[in-house]
């Protein structure tokens, strides 16, 4: 039976139709719709060839990732935190602090950039672990704890320098400038894709973090404990799961992601500024939520978050293609998108409740 292809197909269909994936499907569905809209308005599907501005090129996609890799990296860590039912408001401040460490350290003090990065990792992960410890063992709500962490990190940023520091360092320049152009096979020869599209260090870092995130959440006990805590923390405790340790590690991991996001952002803008990424934590949370992560905890997928990042990044990209709209329309569109997803979540949650009621009623009818 194991080798029966028919049953294998059936199993695959059964697996894919599992109601737990509904939110991810919703994200992918809306993403495809918006991509389709872009293709019709500014791409190959345009009725008037003149309005084809090349939306359907590989370049659109790689640019999207180049511009948003830092957001995606942070969103992976945030997904972990949100699944436990927590929240972390310190991520953007920690990323900004990382930028300050690297910029000030390399440019003003002349320290080796690798030491600056190691120091950032130490501080960011340390702060994350500390916040996790405070949240779990001192029982302080995550909102307040990480708000404190945010002010702390932001304060240190300004303490280092109130001015923007442009980085001039060979290693940083090399990392930021490193790119691999994409080729495709044309008439039996490998040629550069036109218009040129490339992958840079940030994209690779994002993909690595993404894969590590998926592995941790789906394939390790740690990841499954994260889900269990989000489902019902009290139950998780009674099932004998290491709740405290897991929560502390989740915030530590998110600290790590914040620092990596900070590194990516620093390479992207090649400077450090104490006021950079203000409000960025909310963008990160938005990505996770439109990717299907429930703010109440227990539900969410890294892959969903990935699509959430792409979806959120696609909107400003579309506005750029449009060309005349004010970029603030991007915020409005993002807001509407968020509203839509909260609405979908509400519907999904209440329909699963109704489902259970139906099931329990049929169970109750079987009386003797």
């Amino acid at each position: 039976m194991e080798n029966n292809t028919n049953s294998r197909w059936q199993r695959l269909v059964k697996k894919l139709t599992n109601p737990k994936y509904i939110m991810v499907y919703a994200t992918v569905g809306i993403l495809l719709l918006i991509y389709l809209f872009g293709s019709i308005a500014y791409g190959n599907l345009a009725s008037d060839p003149k309005s084809n501005k090349g939306f359907n090129t590989v370049r659109t996609i790689t640019t999207l990732f180049v511009d948003n890799a830092y957001l995606g990296i942070s969103a992976v860590g945030m997904t972990f935190v949100l699944i436990t039912g927590g929240i972390d408001l310190s991520v953007a401040a920690v990323a900004s602090l990382t930028g300050m460490f690297i910029a000030y350290g390399t440019t003003e003090l002349g320290i080796n950039p690798w030491i600056c990065i190691a120091f950032s990792l130490f501080v960011g992960v340390g702060l994350g672990l500390l916040m996790g410890w405070v949240i779990h063992y001192l029982n302080v709500p995550p909102f307040i704890t990480t708000l404190t962490g945010m002010f702390l990190a932001r304060g240190v940023c300004s303490l280092i320098s109130a001015k923007s520091i442009t980085i001039s360092n060979d290693v940083i320049d090399a990392l930021a400038g490193w790119k691999v152009y994409l080729y495709h096979l044309k008439d039996g020869e490998w040629v550069k894709i036109k218009p040129t599209a490339y992958i840079n260090f940030n994209i690779i870092l994002f993909l690595v973090v993404l894969l590590v995130g998926i592995y941790l959440l789906q394939r390790t006990k740690f990841g499954r404990n994260v889900y269990a805590i989000g489902g019902n923390e009290q139950s998780a405790k009674l099932m004998g799961l290491p709740v405290g340790k897991t929560k502390v590690l989740v915030y530590g991991f998110n600290g790590l992601c914040s620092v990596l996001a900070g590194i990516a952002f620093t390479l992207y803008v090649k400077s450090g500024w104490n006021l950079s990424l203000q409000g960025g934590e909310l963008d990160v949370i938005t990505c996770a939520v439109i990717g299907g992560t429930l703010l109440t905890g227990g539900v969410g997928y890294i892959l969903g978050t990935f699509f959430g990042v792409v979806l959120k990044a696609l909107i400003p990209s579309l506005i750029t293609f449009q060309g005349t709209l004010n970029s603030w329309w991007g915020k409005i569109a993002t807001g509407l998108l968020l509203l839509l997803f909260i609405f979908i979540q509400k519907v999904v949650v209440s329909s699963s409740d109704a489902n259970r009621k139906k099931n329990s009623q049929t169970a109750e009818k079987r009386i003797t």
Binding site: K14, K15, N18, P19, K20, Y215, Q218, R219, T220, K221, R224, N225, Y227, A228, G230, G231, N232, Q234, S235, A236, K237, L238, M239, G240, L241, P242, G298, V299, S352, N355, R356, K357, N359, S360, Q361, T362, A363, E364, R366, I367, T368
Partner: protein, 514 residues
Amino acid sequence: MSENNLLEMRQIEIQFPGVKALDKVDFFMRPGEIHSLLGENGAGKSTLIKCLTGVHHKDAGTIILDGKEIQPQSPQHAMEMGISTVYQEVNLCPNLTVAENIFVGRQPMKHGQIDWRTINRRARELMARFRMDIDVTRPLSYFSTAIQQMVAIARAVDVKAKILILDEPTSSLDDNEVQLLFDVMRDLRAEGMGIIFITHFLDQVFAISDRLTILRNGCLVGTYNIQDITKVELVTQMVGKDMDAIFNLKRPDVAPGTPDRLTATHIGSPGKIDDISLNVREGELIGFAGLLGSGRTETAELLFGVTHLSHGTIVLTGIGENAKQKGNKKIKNPYDALTKGLAFCPEDRKRDGIISDLSIRENIALAVQARKGFLHPMSRREQNALADKYIAELGIATPDAEKKIGELSGGNQQKVILARWMATDPRVLILDEPTRGIDVGAKAEIQRLMLEMCEKGVSIIFISSELDEIIRCSTRIIVMRDRKKVAELDGENCTQEKILTIIAEGAEAAGGVA
């Protein structure tokens, strides 16, 4: 003797602030036996269990498991030593799949990764052993409480436990499911596992146990072989007083011609109840019988204004002296109902009833305060007087009125909730499952209180899943089935057999009494 025991708990003592929760309790258990642990609420059953599972730490005494002394530090620690527990509320994660709920925390690994295939296969095998053919890859929240309970037991059993503690596992199961659980318990007993079974259903105790241990007020009353004790003896031992007085309750009689206090005509709301009519007379106790989900609670919610009426009318007669409304008899919302002299004590005590971090005093004063409005706060002295009055009147076991309600036992919590609504001096009191999950003594106490209130002229609507108590207390009984009122019985017609037939097969089968 001693070497035969799987578990020995000797001279266990646990001291809580103000009370001695356990006083030199002995509990011995042999391998391959089902041992019931019985006692009223607050008798120390849960404390003894929590001591064994490492939630509470004993102040004195020894625990010997399999000949070795143990000191359980946490549920996790106890589980590692082979002591698994299934709690009354399903303590699993609704967002995880059935399979994962069984294996989380001890997943089989392969190449440094969780082996999902093995997990799902073994979960399927386990559920098949419980004669359940369900899709184990679906989230737990997708299934009914009964199935969730079975999953919890499957998890507990699969950890290769030496001792399995089942704390009220049957309270949400129907008869078939209980039988299924018993079959599984017998299988496990045959494998040499020791099962500690805690329940309030005495019939189940006699159906499945080999021995039983009775606790009362934190002290050991005794351990008996099941053949050596009768039900009446058992209850007497648990309660510590003669049960006759308690079982000799007299249901409130209402003279013909007594005026109606509440008349509902063809009320309903889409998706809840289509159409129901009923009347409640002064000093009458109306029992609502029917299964869970048959529409009992939904009717109560309609009457109290929790659910909006889409059609029909509710007329309140002779009440509303203290109500603010003039001539308007319609109930708009629960607050409105409260001001008109209705009170509703909801089903889920933990969720809709108690506010566990507030004191007994605050919990009692809540409804009175709500009716007065927050512009007229009650003075501390008024609150104290109110609380002290009801603590004395209802016999709530507490050192003082300032104890947090969450720290009381279930029966005492229920009495506090009852006091909250009694304090509003209601004319019609709706009680939804007021006796669920509390012990025999407290049940009898609550029934006695209801009947006393009826004597004073209060009308009561009493919803319960236990037919015994409905039959014992009700003047009339309304039987619900499939969200419809299928029969209304009174006097001689109120027999267990008749009601069961109606619930199972409808009123026609029972001879059409409706």
